[in-house]
């Protein structure tokens, strides 16, 4: 029995709790020592109390500072975690609770706590699910990378828009007309622009191999510089550096509709056989796609901008929808590392999708048939990461 009492005391000390006081201060677990939880015994008569003010005495300070208030007189818990009054792990703090009456006058303090210091934990147990998910992501990634490297080949479903790139360039060659490639109107910070440039490389290489012409108008000066280098590099890779014409890649305007007007004019004058709109687009998507359709070009579009997708789908021959745009470089190159990572991501998404559906069903059942609290706890724990 004595052993148990001693163990209990030791536990409270480790946890940073104060002993034999009406005000108990405890360390908030699973953090970096930045919060303390204060609990107190409610006074016998709370009818005259409108709120509680929580004061803290920092080490070396002479006066208590107000760190917070609890406006419900029946609540006796407060967590001190205000970045304006930061706590530091290993430093001792003393708290006092002062009730306030309805005239906003402070009445007699409920007492002071023992000096307690917040403790930084090495491990945040609330994030165990994130750890599991991360480990799973890595495991899946490593597995698929190794599997892809064995040369067994991973299945990626057919993406008609990417398969059509070959024939798009072929069409331009047969017709003796150029290929128009618009890498979106956004900047390099946009993932869609990066994905578009990844596709531009193989397209430009194919254009060089077929000895035809590509036109790449740009809206952003930084994107322009990168695109210029990518196209140049592709011609070099195809063994045709001599065929690269620096004027094929050009800057038009940073103004959205000035850019659109220029590109539409280009389409009407040059009549490209193939238009590729891949990247981030806004209101100009339909203007460009419709103009291209009128000129008789086959058009391949791709964007992750959900609002523009319907316009592209109806006005273009092929449309890469959202993630398909990101998967393009893996699809086109069939590089084991890229294909493996796409596969791993797909698996993760499938699992998340499955969990969402499963948990929704569980919640529904819980609401209809059982006490929902326990279920909701489980579900919120799963999705808390």
């Amino acid at each position: 029995m004595k052993f148990l009492t001693l163990f209990g005391i030791l536990f409270l000390i480790i946890q940073g709790g104060s002993l034999y006081s009406e005000i108990v201060v405890e360390d908030v677990p699973n953090d970096a020592g930045e919060a303390l939880m204060i609990t107190w015994d409610l006074p016998d008569d709370v009818g005259n109390i409108s709120m509680y003010r929580i004061y803290r005495l920092d080490p070396g300070a002479e006066d208590y500072i107000l760190v917070g208030k609890v406006e419900n007189p029946n609540v006796n818990v407060f967590v001190d975690h205000d970045p304006r009054y930061p706590l530091h792990a290993g430093t001792e703090f003393v708290y006092k609770i002062v009730p306030v009456d309805f005239s906003q006058n402070e009445v007699e303090s409920l007492g002071t706590s023992l000096a307690v210091s917040p403790v930084a934990q090495l491990f945040n147990f609330n994030k165990v699910n994130s750890l599991i998910a991360t480990l799973f992501v890595f495991a899946a990634l490593i597995f698929f990378l190794n599997y892809a490297k064995t040369g067994k080949g991973l299945f990626i479903r057919k993406i008609a828009g990417l398969d059509a790139l070959d024939e798009a360039v072929g069409r331009a060659t047969e017709m003796g007309k150029p290929v128009l490639y618009v890498p979106g109107l956004s900047t390099m910070s946009d993932v869609a622009t990066i994905a578009s440039i990844n596709i531009l490389g193989p397209v430009a290489k194919k254009v060089a191999e077929y000895e035809t012409k590509i036109l790449v108008p740009n809206r952003d000066p930084i994107v322009y510089t990168i695109v210029h280098e990518v196209v140049k590099e592709s011609y070099l890779e195809a063994g045709r550096p001599d065929a690269f014409d620096t004027d094929q890649v050009f800057f038009v305007s940073q103004q959205q509709f000035a850019f659109v007007a220029a590109v539409n004019g280009l389409m009407m004058r040059e009549k490209p056989a193939t238009n590729l709109f891949l990247g981030m687009f806004w209101a100009e998507s339909l203007l460009m796609a419709e103009t291209g359709n009128i000129t008789g070009a086959i058009q391949i579009a791709g964007t992750d901008s959900v609002t523009q997708l319907p316009f592209f789908i109806t006005a273009c021959d092929y449309t890469l929808i959202g993630e398909e745009l990101y998967a393009a470089s893996a699809y086109l190159s069939r590089d084991p590392i890229l294909v493996g990572s796409v596969k791993a991501q797909d698996l993760e998404k499938a699992i998340i999708l499955f969990l969402m559906i499963a948990c929704s069903i569980i919640s529904l059942i819980a609401v209809l048939a059982f006490n929902t609290y326990a279920f909701n706890q489980v579900i919120s724990a799963i999705f808390s990461f």
Binding site: G170, E174, M175, Y210, D317, T319
Partner: protein, 610 residues
């Protein structure tokens, strides 16, 4: 040539690589139709020591004379005035002797104009030795070397739509000019080159090729990317085949003077016949002719991508798949495992290899034992399967064309250039060539075709009785009625309908697949994995309702029942529920052999004892 109404006696020959086949067709007033009377054959005499194709023709016609007691020849010439027992009204011929017509094609982009050129050449009955294109990943000197080494009979140059690229076409013309190709036969004439490309590039092409080759210019075979115009190029190929290739081959000048219509390349004639039959009966057909050196596949399928469904004819020739000269190549391409999977007994790989090599070096031998027959038929299945795979790759829609989309296409964007071969729509599958036409039991031919082509839904199986499709093909040009009547009654042996349901995904063996209700007969319940023969004689037609389970499709969609008229044949009604998605054989040897024996027994393919 006499008017069509007066043609009563028709003599037709086909000069093959090894044998020349002659047939006599006569009008039977009692039956009120044309009939095949007799067939004679003799070795082809194109090669030394004879070097005159007409000797073989005369020998085969002599056999016809002997068998019919009709006088057809007089002083080694065909009598063209017919009376009761003398002469014929018309003489026609086809030829594939000396390797047939061998061509090279060139186009700007491999799967666009080069592919169209290939289709034009194949449709005209030639063998395409190679296709050259800007994107064929070869260096110019390699292309030049290739043209020089292959020595084709003629070259078909295409590329660019009208108003399209000139640069690329000119480059191709320069490559041909630099190769300075020499024809296979005859050293005195220039190689014929047909230009069927961009009309704006005609002058530059002329400048480069006119002096060095015999250049002919025809309409662009791809005037716009959305449309093919193959007929002018095909007609020109045919003319040049007559004027140049045939005229140079030994004895052909004489043969041409005998024939009442132009001599056609054998595959061209077969293709023409299949096209005619498909058109007349409004059906979708696949025909296959498996020979010793090559396997030809012909198909007529409707292009359902267009608003107006129009039949599209396609022919492919698998130059390296055959049952004698090319048999080793079948082994190399299919792999021993794939051949062995059809052999219903235990066999060492080494044994199979030796048998195949023996057949290659002794191409005229035929199986002497039941075991040898089973092995040969196993190889034939693989040769047919591979030829059909190649055909599916070539029989495709046009690539690189603009498409119309609606929002409904968001998740199902169909690509252009998809294969036109849809086995569910196939109405008739016709087999020809020694291994199919001369199989000891017709059921063997039926099962070989089913295993190789895996027909889906309801398909009529048929074989060419004595390989006279080439004769009838050329006859259809002058007398379509006679050709159709003989084809229907004497040439085509109907084996019977094959019912093959397609499952959504692989099912469990023994699961109920569909119910077959035949008028005035007991209802039949068919399980998945089963192969069954239902007796139904030649010419017998029955009304039947097929009620598939929800995971199975017999032609009208999954789970949808159909009521149709089923026709029997010399084999009967074949029910093949062995699965199509995919069709597979057990991997364990013992199980596989048991299964094969079970199937063979079901169709009574082989006798019980050797």
């Amino acid at each position: 040539m006499k008017p069509k109404e007066q043609i009563k006696n028709i003599l037709a020959t086909d000069c093959g690589s090894t044998t020349t086949k002659a047939i006599l067709i006569q009008y039977d007033p009692e039956a009120g139709r044309y009939r095949l009377i007799v067939r004679g054959e003799a070795p082809t005499t194109v090669e030394a020591p004879f070097e005159d194709v007409t000797i073989g023709v005369l020998n085969s016609v002599k056999e016809v004379e002997e068998l019919t007691h009709r006088e057809i020849l007089q002083q080694d010439k065909i009598i063209k005035e017919s009376s009761e027992n003398r002469g014929v009204d018309i003489y026609i011929s086809t030829s594939s002797a000396g390797g047939g017509l061998q061509m090279m094609v060139a186009g700007v982009v491999m799967n666009m104009t080069a592919e169209s050129a290939e289709r034009a050449a194949l449709g005209a009955g030639s063998i395409v030795m190679d296709a050259i294109a800007t994107n064929d990943k070869r260096m110019p000197h390699e292309r030049i070397e290739r043209i020089r080494n292959l020595r084709p009979d003629m070259i078909l140059l295409s590329g660019g739509i009208d108003g399209g690229t000139i640069k690329h076409v000119t480059e191709l013309a320069e490559i041909i000019a630099a190769a300075d190709p020499k024809p296979r036969f005859g050293s005195t004439y220039k190689l014929p080159v047909i230009y069927a490309g961009n009309k704006d590039a005609r002058e530059p092409v002329k400048e480069r090729l006119e002096g060095k080759t015999d250049l002919f210019i025809v309409d662009n075979l791809r005037p716009v990317l959305e449309r093919e115009n193959l007929q002018p190029a095909r007609d020109k190929i045919h003319d040049l085949f007559m004027e140049h290739v045939m005229a140079q081959a030994p004895g052909y000048k004489k043969l041409m003077s005998w024939a009442d219509v132009d001599i056609m390349p054998t595959p061209g004639a077969v293709g023409l016949l299949i096209e005619t039959v498909a058109k007349q009966e409004d059906i979708e057909v696949v025909g296959v002719d498996i020979g010793g050196a090559t396997t030809d596949v012909f198909s007529v399928f409707k292009d359902r991508t267009e608003e107006e469904e129009k039949p599209v004819f396609n022919r492919t020739v698998s130059a390296n798949l055959g049952m004698s000269y090319s048999i080793s190549n079948v082994m190399a391409e299919a792999g021993l495992d794939n051949i062995l999977r059809w052999v219903p007994f235990t066999m060492e790989e080494k044994d199979l290899r030796n048998r195949i090599r023996n057949k290659m070096i002794r191409p005229t031998t035929i199986p002497q034992s039941l075991q040898e027959l089973k092995v040969e038929q196993a190889i034939a299945r693989e040769a047919l399967r591979l030829a059909f795979v190649q055909h599916k790759q070539m029989a495709v829609g046009l690539k690189g064309i603009q498409q119309e989309r609606t929002i409904a296409d968001a998740f199902e964007q169909v690509s252009t250039g998809e294969t036109l071969v849809n086995l569910m729509n196939l109405n008739m599958l016709i087999g020809s060539g020694g291994v199919l036409s001369h199989a000891p039991r017709r059921a063997q031919a039926a099962l070989m075709m089913i295993d190789a082509f895996l027909p889906q839904g309801i398909t009529m199986l048929a074989v060419d009785s004595i390989f006279m499709m080439p004769h009838l093909g050329v006859l259809s040009k002058v007398h379509p009625q006679a050709a159709t009547e003989v084809f229907d009654n004497d040439c085509l042996i109907r084996l019977g309908h094959c019912i093959a349901p397609v499952e959504k995904k692989r099912r469990k063996g023994g699961e109920h697949c569909f119910t077959l209700k035949i008028e005035n007969r007991d209802e039949l319940k068919i399980a998945w994995g089963e192969l069954k023969l239902i007796p139904l004689g030649e010419g017998e037609k029955v009304k039947a309702t097929i009620i598939p389970e929800r995971h199975y499709d017999v032609g009208d969609g999954y789970g949808k029942s159909i009521t149709i008229t089923l026709e029997g044949g010399v084999v009967g009604l074949v029910v093949d529920a062995r699965g199509r998605n995919p069709f597979s054989l057990p991997s364990k040897l013992e199980e596989r052999i048991n299964k094969l024996e079970q199937w063979n027994k079901a169709l009574n393919i082989y006798p019980e004892k050797e």
